[in-house]
Amino acid sequence: MEKRLFAVIIKKLNKNETIIGLFVFIISIYIYIESIHLPDFGKSYESPGLLPAFIAVCMFVLSIFLIAEEIKKALNLIKEENKGSGEDATINREPLWDQRIIMAIVIIIIYIIILPNISFLGASILFLFAIMSYLKAGNFFLISMISLLIPIGIQYLFANVFQQLIP
């Protein structure tokens, strides 16, 4: 019976929120362990690890509250279903990742990898062309013109007017 209830709670839990809570739980333990190993120069309150250790403890406690909140929400959902509404009362949430976001992130990462190897101009033209084509920003001519003119304009503005370092 208890195993069954546990399985139902796991099913009803908001997976993403619970995973975040567990992630924070684990990371807080890691931060605490790293912090207490920092040198303390004689007195613990002079240690550079003091505030990180304190923050780790706060995060640890908050992650437990977060996970407890999700379990409470799951139990409330089970109660609602048991009242006989006949509906599967699950919180619907859009998936975290969708194809557009993943592709955009991949294109951005490739852009930054090639940036130091090709010039800013070349890398930015390629980047803008690739991402605007993927996002269907317009026809080939429009995308090409924007991909060409914007990096040239930015390079001129920032190198000559703002006198900034360009990759």
Partner: protein
């Protein structure tokens, strides 16, 4: 003071500085008007671009963008019911119905004139209150600064996040990011650097700001479909004197709401405009139309409050070094990058910078009035730029902005990583603002905490109780945290509802 004012006027009334304020204001209005671009994003990128400039020129551009950006959101809010900035959410409630009735021009005119008045009142309050607050804050020591940092984080965690737990977690994570690098007190020990020389310098806060406010917003917008709207014509924008007289008392009330809310750490124009709108709904007896159906009062109140908020946010930023909102945090960042330390000593060592900001704010408000009224047609076309063209360009600006900090590709990678983290945080209702405030206040809290402990030989609680200002701050923080506990909230609710029943009977 008059000498300082004259000195500040002579520094600011230089062609280049005035031109930069004007350019900043127009850019700010454009950024504010375009849904998907935020003034915080623009300011974060600008802080790195203006690194090599003189402080005055950098501040001129940033103040222009700040003032223009907060106002600019009303353009798209009124024309197409999509607020360009969070501060314009409430403006859309009555602004768009006015636009649907063919009164877009009059609505924009009223929004512009009221934003101008609100901005001037906010600047005036800043000019009047900042010197005595600075003078009072000279009594602050490490104990007080430590507690002020905690107060700032507690406030933003409560107000800027749907859940206190998530708000506090965001703030804690921000403090952790700020701890990465060489220990600033002893300078010999690296924290979470793993021997990596790049990490020894820590995560640069400007790269963090660009990632958290810029790239994360881009990722959030990329998900949305391409936006193309039919933009109504805005004719007859010049405000009438009779309108300004009619709404004068509401303007004054809303301005003070904006200033007060802006002065609270971590809370900005969005909250100020919502509170002012709500106040107008409850207090205006005979609105021009029912609220929500095109009442002019529904445009006056939020627009006045959100621009007054600019002055309010700068009060704690310049006098205590604690930012009132995200953009004032970036104004502070600009000061730090130029080797200045905002806080009570700013009025002692650099009072000219403070008065220069006052004058720049006034000039920016004047430019906002002029450009807002004369260029509304141009802004209406800009509002319609598709996101799938705009967002990639913003990515390029984020990359170049992060690189420009120190000419190091490491900061670009840091920006991307924090941008991803920021996007995930937004997705799950964690406050990016709380994390940013954690990054900015983390070093202040760290150094002052350890200094306080050394001074009190480890007995900090006794030391805090023995200092009146610290004790008051400590009690406020405890009350703020305890008041969010559900049992305590229920207890207070029962007390207040019992009291109100007794009053009515």
């Amino acid at each position: 003071m008059s000498d300082l004012l004259i000195q500040a006027i002579s520094q600011v009334f230089v062609f280049k500085v005035i031109m930069l304020i004007g350019i900043g204001t127009v850019s700010g209005i454009l950024v504010g008007a375009i849904p998907g671009l935020t003034v915080t994003m623009a300011t974060a990128i600008l802080v790195s671009f203006t690194y090599g400039w003189s402080l005055l020129e950098a501040l001129a551009l940033i103040m222009g963008v700040f003032v223009g950006g907060v106002y600019g959101g009303c353009q798209s809010a009124i024309l197409v019911n999509i607020p360009g900035a969070p501060a314009a959410i409430s403006t859309a409630f009555d602004g768009f119905p006015l636009s649907q009735r063919g009164e877009a021009g009059r609505a924009i005119g009223i929004a512009t004139s009221q934003s101008f008045l609100g901005g001037l009142i906010g600047t005036g309050v800043l000019a009047i209150l900042a010197p005595p607050i600075s003078h009072f804050a000279l009594r602050f020591g490490s104990f007080e600064y430590f507690l002020l940092g905690i107060f700032g984080l507690t406030t933003i965690s409560r107000l800027a996040s749907k859940s206190l737990i998530k708000g506090l977690l965001s703030a804690c994570f921000g403090i952790f990011i700020a701890m990465i690098g060489v220990d600033p007190v002893y300078g010999v020990c690296g924290r979470f650097t793993y021997g990596n020389t790049q990490l020894m310098g820590g995560v640069h806060f400007v790269a963090a700001l660009i990632g958290l406010f810029g790239l994360s917003e881009v990722l959030a917008q990329i998900k949305l479909a391409q936006f193309k709207a039919i933009i109504p014509k805005a004719v007859g924008v010049m405000p009438k004197w009779s309108d300004m007289k009619r709404y004068f008392s509401l303007t004054i009330r809303s301005s003070f709401i904006g200033v007060f809310i802006g002065a609270l750490p971590g809370v900005g124009g969005d909250i100020a405009s919502l509170v002012a709108y709500d106040n107008a709904k409850r207090t205006v007896k005979n609105p021009s139309r029912p609220f929500g159906e095109g009442a002019y009062e529904g445009v006056v109140a939020p627009e006045t409050a959100n621009n007054a908020c600019v002055g309010g946010a700068l009060i704690p930023a310049l006098t205590l070094g604690i930012p009132g909102d995200a953009v004032s945090a970036l104004v502070l960042a600009s000061f730090f990058l130029h080797g200045l330390r905002p806080g009570p000593l700013m009025m002692v060592h650099n009072p000219d910078s403070f008065w220069a900001i006052i004058i720049m704010s006034i000039i920016a408000n004047v430019f906002m009035l002029i450009f807002g009224l004369s260029l509304s047609k141009v802004f209406s076309y800009v509002v319609a730029i598709p996101k799938n063209i705009l967002m990639p360009i913003i990515v390029v600006l984020c990359v170049i902005g992060s690189y420009a900090i120190e000419g190091n590709i490491f900061h670009v990678w840091a920006m991307v990583l924090l941008g991803l983290i920021g996007w995930i945080m937004r997705r799950f209702d964690y406050s990016v603002g709380a994390m940013v405030l954690g990054i900015i206040l983390g070093p202040i809290i760290d150094q002052n905490l350890r200094r306080s402990l050394v001074l009190s030989e480890g007995n900090i609680i006794a030391a805090i109780v023995g200092r009146p200002i610290s004790l008051v701050l400590f009690v406020i923080i405890i009350v703020l945290i305890i008041s969010e506990i559900p049992i305590v909230k229920l207890f207070w609710y029962k007390i207040f509802s019992g009291l109100s029943k007794k009053t009515h009977s």
